[in-house]
């Protein structure tokens, strides 16, 4: 098998060493993973969702385990765009990480102002706009589930930045293909999906929800079959690249998304359980390509035979 397989892939005009990214909110600002591996080796680091102002988030309890998954209602707690650019960004640059900034607003205006700020910021390689976080009532769900609203927002954002724009979709919709087409038509450079499925868990002794926020976002292996299906439907609906997210614990899981049509993947909850999950997936995909004697990763994208 001599030659080393080529894992590089281009997404939204951005050339990545490999197709493996971290999922926003599950990798902090990257720095907590220092002891585990060199984050510069990842395709990209997608940071915790940022807002204009720092956000305190929801009261605890914020997480609860579920069968093969977990619910979270963090409430988009974050240090705010300014603190990020001042304190975190320089460290990420030191590490030569490819940085994708995930952001959200409570109003269309906030989204646009953030886009402008990030457009000027140094070291930001691409933007991922969260129009789908189901945790905070005002935090995106309305944008993410109505095609017209979503497309208006996306085209406005495109007007505010020249950075590659990844639109992250919510799975809590009737027709993911429709949403995908809407944001593609609005100018999205790529689509990432899925964000969490809205769920709920109840303590039957106290008769209270296990999350202070009542509902939360379901993530982890449990949601993978739904995520793979949506990646497949979205990739059939649009021509822009799809980034697959949802319950990926291993390279084998990641390859399901790729064969279904994803050009890259993001590792979320898995990083909590196994801090080296993201880099393990990179190495696992390389092994898979050798076993399957595939030279270029791109040959595997949408290689599913139905």
């Amino acid at each position: 098998m001599g030659v080393k397989p080529d894992l590089s892939v281009e997404i939204a005009g951005l050339k990545l060493k490999n197709p493996v990214m971290t999922a926003s909110g599950t990798f902090g600002y990257g720095l907590e993973f220092e002891p585990f591996f060199d984050i510069g080796r990842l395709g990209a680091v997608v940071v915790k969702g940022l807002s204009l102002q720092p956000k305190a988030g929801n009261p605890p309890p914020r997480v609860v385990e579920t069968p093969a998954g977990m619910l979270n209602a963090i409430g988009l707690q974050n240090i705010g765009i300014d603190a990020f650019l001042e304190h975190k960004m320089p460290k990420l640059k030191e590490k030569n990480a490819t940085v994708i900034v995930n952001f959200f607003g409570n109003t269309a205006e906030e989204y646009l102002e953030l886009s402008r700020k990030l457009d000027e910021a140094e070291g930001v390689h691409a933007l991922e706009v969260n129009i789908s976080c189901p945790n905070v009532k005002a935090g995106g769900i309305v944008f993410g589930t109505d095609p017209t609203v979503a497309s208006k927002l996306v085209s406005d954002i495109k007007g505010c930045t020249s950075l590659p724009l990844i639109v992250k979709l919510s799975p809590n919709v009737t027709d993911i293909g429709l949403m995908a087409r809407a944001v593609e038509d609005a100018g999205a450079d790529a689509i990432s999906l899925i964000n969490t499925l809205t769920g709920m868990s109840i303590d039957i002794r106290t008769r209270r929800p296990r999350l202070a926020n009542v509902t939360g976002g379901l993530s982890g292996p449990a949601i993978r079959p739904v995520a793979v299906r949506m990646a497949w439907e979205a990739s059939k609906a649009v021509n822009i690249p799809i980034i697959g997210i949802g319950g990926i614990m291993s390279a084998e899981d990641a390859m399901e998304f790729v064969l279904a049509g994803a050009s890259a993947v993001q590792i979320g909850t898995a990083s909590f359980i196994n801090p080296t999950a993201a880099i393990d997936v990179v190495e696992g995909i390389e092994r898979y390509m050798i076993e399957e004697s595939v030279q270029h990763f791109s040959e595997l994208i949408a290689a599913l035979e139905t």
Binding site: G25, T26, F27, G28, L31, E32, F33, E34, P35, F36, K48, A56, G57, P59, P60, P61, R62, V63, V64, E65, P67, A68, G69, M70, N72, I74, Q77, I79, G220, P221, M249, T269, S271, F272, I273, N274, P275, T276
Partner: protein
């Protein structure tokens, strides 16, 4: 969220022993996959109890003791659900994925002349490690252990072995003081034997009361708290606790129990 030096690591650690020391309570010795000299009293580890996907999350356990010669440490745990049940069934020799040492431990420098340790239930582990450290520093901390009844009092013998006689408080009076640990604390203070500092770990309500008493009597107090944790190393923001800055109590914030904690100054905590 304040910065901190990151000195944890993740790796496999062999189970050297795993025995039931009291009904539903197990003591497990593990080969440390991290440099033991880094571990501070009050810190904890995140253990993956199963290679499979259920339970999907790791489980946090306080470091109870260390044996530098054997390169090992122990955890003392109570079986309360699926994760701890699986853990209790794990045979000697198996390797577990261990992430640690994690969080901010107790501030040993605070000890002063008459440090007091108050443990409730499975709050014993971090305090035992603290006691050992204090003794090593030539201190002789007082120790109070509380439980529903005599059978719930953990590690009394082990404290003896390091030269500390633990006072017992049992709700049913089956051993030592009849009532809560805080009863003993109040007697000490009213009796003019106020400690120089209080270190405590145990059930929330107990910690709350200990903290209140300490603050009222102007005694320095460090409390080790729990929270349901997804990651344990500061990235998920799932484990937060409402806190305030000591000098500006109106400045509230959410602190990560796994990163800014699990040990907090009693005055930082906003109980809800």
């Amino acid at each position: 969220m304040s910065e901190r030096t990151i000195d944890y690591d993740n790796g496999p650690g062999k189970v050297l022993s795993n025995r039931e020391i009291a009904p539903d309570h197990f003591l497990m010795e593990l080969a440390a996959p991290f440099d033991l000299s880094r571990a501070r009293p009050g810190q904890f580890v995140m253990i993956r109890v199963s290679e499979g996907i259920t339970p999907v999350l790791r489980r946090p356990f306080g470091i109870c003791s260390m044996n530098k010669d054997r390169g090992s440490f122990t955890i003392l745990y109570r079986v309360v659900g699926p994760g701890t049940k699986i853990l209790s069934d794990i045979p000697e020799g198996l390797e577990l994925d261990i992430l640690g040492p994690l969080g901010r431990g107790f501030d040993v420098a605070l000890a002063g002349e008459a440090p007091l340790l108050i443990a409730g239930g499975v709050g014993v582990p971090p305090l035992f490690m603290l006691a050992a450290a204090l003794v090593k520093n030539g201190k002789k901390p007082e120790v109070i252990i509380g439980g529903r009844s005599a059978s719930d009092l953990l590690f009394v013998e082990e404290f003896k072995k390091i030269g500390l006689k633990a006072l017992a408080a049992t709700e049913d009076g089956s051993e030592g003081f009849k009532g809560y640990v805080t009863g003993i604390l109040e007697e000490m203070i009213s009796g003019g034997r106020a400690p120089s500092v209080i270190y405590s770990c145990g059930p929330g309500p107990m910690l709350k009361r200990v903290g209140e008493i300490a603050i009222e009597s102007g005694i320095a107090c460090q409390l080790s708290l729990e929270a349901v944790m997804a990651c344990g190393f500061g990235v998920c923001l799932g484990c937060v606790l409402k806190t305030c800055s000591i000098d500006r109590p109106d400045e509230t914030d959410y602190s990560r129990v796994c990163a800014e904690g699990p040990v907090f100054d009693a005055r930082e905590i906003i109980w809800e």
